[in-house]
């Protein structure tokens, strides 16, 4: 499935929610279900430091696709991490590099990607794109 398809799915899922509480309950559930990153990756090396919450990100390259795994110490951050992984993991480096991730705004979570929020998400996206760029250069 393309990034746009998955984004559209997520937007439709969020459309069923009437209020912020239902939206956040869903994100919290996602956070609880996100497969934890292997303990070996939950180290300083993979840490994306936010002032408030922390994110660990690991990326691998398989058959022309980038596979991301991540975790966070805050559950809401983790839920949003899960959405980003659902959209970006398993995609080609080019697709990852070119997406503006428009769905975040459409499901009303834009504020979580604000630089003032310092929850590590913005840095995580930057790091995801850097990985994509590195894989693209390495395996071209």
């Amino acid at each position: 499935m393309t990034i746009e398809h998955i984004e559209q799915q997520i937007i439709e899922e969020f459309e069923q929610f009437d209020d912020w509480m239902e939206r956040y309950n869903y994100i919290i559930e996602l956070g609880k279900n996100l497969p934890l990153i292997n303990a070996e990756y939950k180290t300083e090396k993979y840490l994306i430091s936010g002032c408030q919450s922390q994110v660990w990100l690991h990326a691998a390259y398989e058959d022309g696709k980038v596979i991301y795994k991540a975790d966070s110490d805050a559950i809401i951050t983790k839920g949003i991490v899960a959405l980003l992984i659902r959209v970006l993991s398993g995609q080609t480096p080019d697709a990852i590099l070119n997406t503006p991730l428009a769905f975040v705004d459409k499901i009303g979570l834009k504020e979580h990607l604000s630089p003032t929020r310092s929850n590590g998400l913005l840095s995580m996206i930057k790091q995801m794109k850097l990985y994509a760029m590195a894989f693209k250069a390495k395996y071209k």
Binding site: W20, Y24, N25, I28, C51, Q52, S53, I75, T77
Partner: protein, 410 residues
């Protein structure tokens, strides 16, 4: 000065921002330790300055310049009275507490700090009262040491004598901890340091809005505070320094106003106090806004403000006790209206995010006091900090919202 207790909540009406809502819910503003809201009189004062009085001060011969200069210098006298300093020229206007501390750290270190010397701080300082001293110590190959604090959040003063070694050149500590709410017994600490001839700087950023400060009674050598934490504008702060110290220390920044004469051949001679430390065009409008804010709170009476805030703290502390897994961080006997807490198994960021959605502004994280968090082995807390304009009803709303958030996150 004690007067009959005023109807404290009537003053809430003076704060236009408290009437607004966020996410269609009435705003509950519990982030007062970060910054306080501004009464209409302060806002009006700043507008009036730019509408009717704006001119650069001190050098102008024209009417507006002289008017502004007089208004500006009158505030120095008002701040002197507010702190009960000896002289108006002991009051230096800065951008805030951070700049006040940086000024002293820089000027003091350049003249008095030598390799092998020590600066003593405490384990509960805000980063603003740590990093300037780290920079100074690094530059001079001196050592930064600290007074630790115990589990409830009180300084281990039994260690003070030992820590005040002959190598200590200055002691810098907070009057009131922003992360814990602890009110430190600064007067006794200052006296002990003075017995050994060590000057003391007090970070009063959190204290001035809650405690009546008398710098002569405290006998501190330096006292710093920010306008925006005492219902005044952002970007204006105060450094009080004893005359003998301010005369002794070299200038911090160079520029206009702080000089007597400038010659490319013969060098520069510096202006007298307070101008020696006020390079460049000062922030006149915010100085005037600060004056209005100081008058405003003195009119209410700091003793009445503190009394109401203590009631709010007691009320909130009691209510929070009933919440499962909640632990208050900072249980000092003498504390101010700062309520820092963690909830077992839940990240403070998550709680803060959900409270925000319910219209409640609290702060989450390390509160720029990472060593405090390290002391407890936590990454951060949720902090609710109250002002005299807050109500018990708001605390009820906050407690219900907190329970709802915990329910969602468990």
């Amino acid at each position: 000065m004690t007067s009959k207790a005023p109807d404290i909540l009537a003053f809430r009406e003076d704060f236009p921002i408290l009437k607004r809502s966020v996410y269609n819910k009435p705003l509950v503003y519990f982030d007062n330790a970060a910054t306080t809201q501004k009464p209409q009189v302060v806002i009006d004062r700043i507008v009036k300055y730019y509408a009717e009085e704006n001119a650069n001060i001190h050098r102008g011969v024209h009417y507006l310049s002289q008017h502004s200069t007089m208004a500006f210098e009158n505030v120095r006298e008002q701040v002197r009275l507010f702190l009960n300093a000896n002289h108006a020229h002991e009051i230096i206007f800065t951008r805030g507490t951070t700049e006040s501390i940086n000024l002293i750290a820089s000027s003091f270190a350049s003249k008095h700090l030598l390799a092998g010397d020590e600066i003593l701080i405490t384990q509960m300082e805000h980063h603003s009262n740590i990093v300037p001293w780290q920079l100074a110590c690094e530059a001079k190959k001196a050592t930064l040491k600290y007074i630790p604090f115990n589990e409830p959040g009180e300084l281990e003063l039994s260690l003070l004598d030992k820590l005040l070694t002959p190598r200590v050149k200055l002691l810098a500590l907070t009057h009131l901890s922003n992360a814990l709410g602890t009110i430190n017994p600064v007067k006794e600490i200052i006296a002990k340091a003075h017995q050994k001839g060590i000057p003391v700087l007090i970070d009063g950023a959190q204290a001035v809005a809650h405690i009546k400060v008398d710098v002569q009674e405290l006998d501190c050598d330096f006292y710093c505070f920010s306008g925006h934490k005492i219902y005044g504008p952002m970007g204006i702060g105060v450094l009080y320094g004893k005359e003998k110290w301010l005369n002794d220390l070299p200038p911090y920044q160079g520029g206009g106003e702080m000089i007597k004469t400038v010659s490319l051949e013969k060098g520069t001679t510096y202006n007298d106090l307070p101008f020696k430390f006020e390079a460049g065009t000062p922030n006149v409008s915010d100085v005037l806004g600060l004056e209005t804010a100081l008058n405003y709170i003195q009119n209410i009476g700091l003793e009445h403000i503190a009394a109401w805030e203590n009631k709010l703290l007691t009320y909130a502390s009691t209510k929070l006790q009933g919440i499962n897994g909640l632990q208050v961080i900072g249980r000092a006997k003498h504390k101010s209206s700062v309520l820092s807490f963690i909830v077992e198994g839940i990240h403070p960021y998550d709680i803060g995010t959900l409270l925000d959605k319910m219209g409640i502004a609290v702060r989450t994280g390390h509160h720029c006091a990472q060593p405090v968090m390290d002391r407890y082995g936590i990454s951060g807390t949720v902090r609710a900090s109250f002002s005299f304009y807050n109500t018990k009803e708001e605390i009820d709303v906050f407690c219900e919202a907190l329970k709802k958030a915990i329910e969602m996150l468990k």
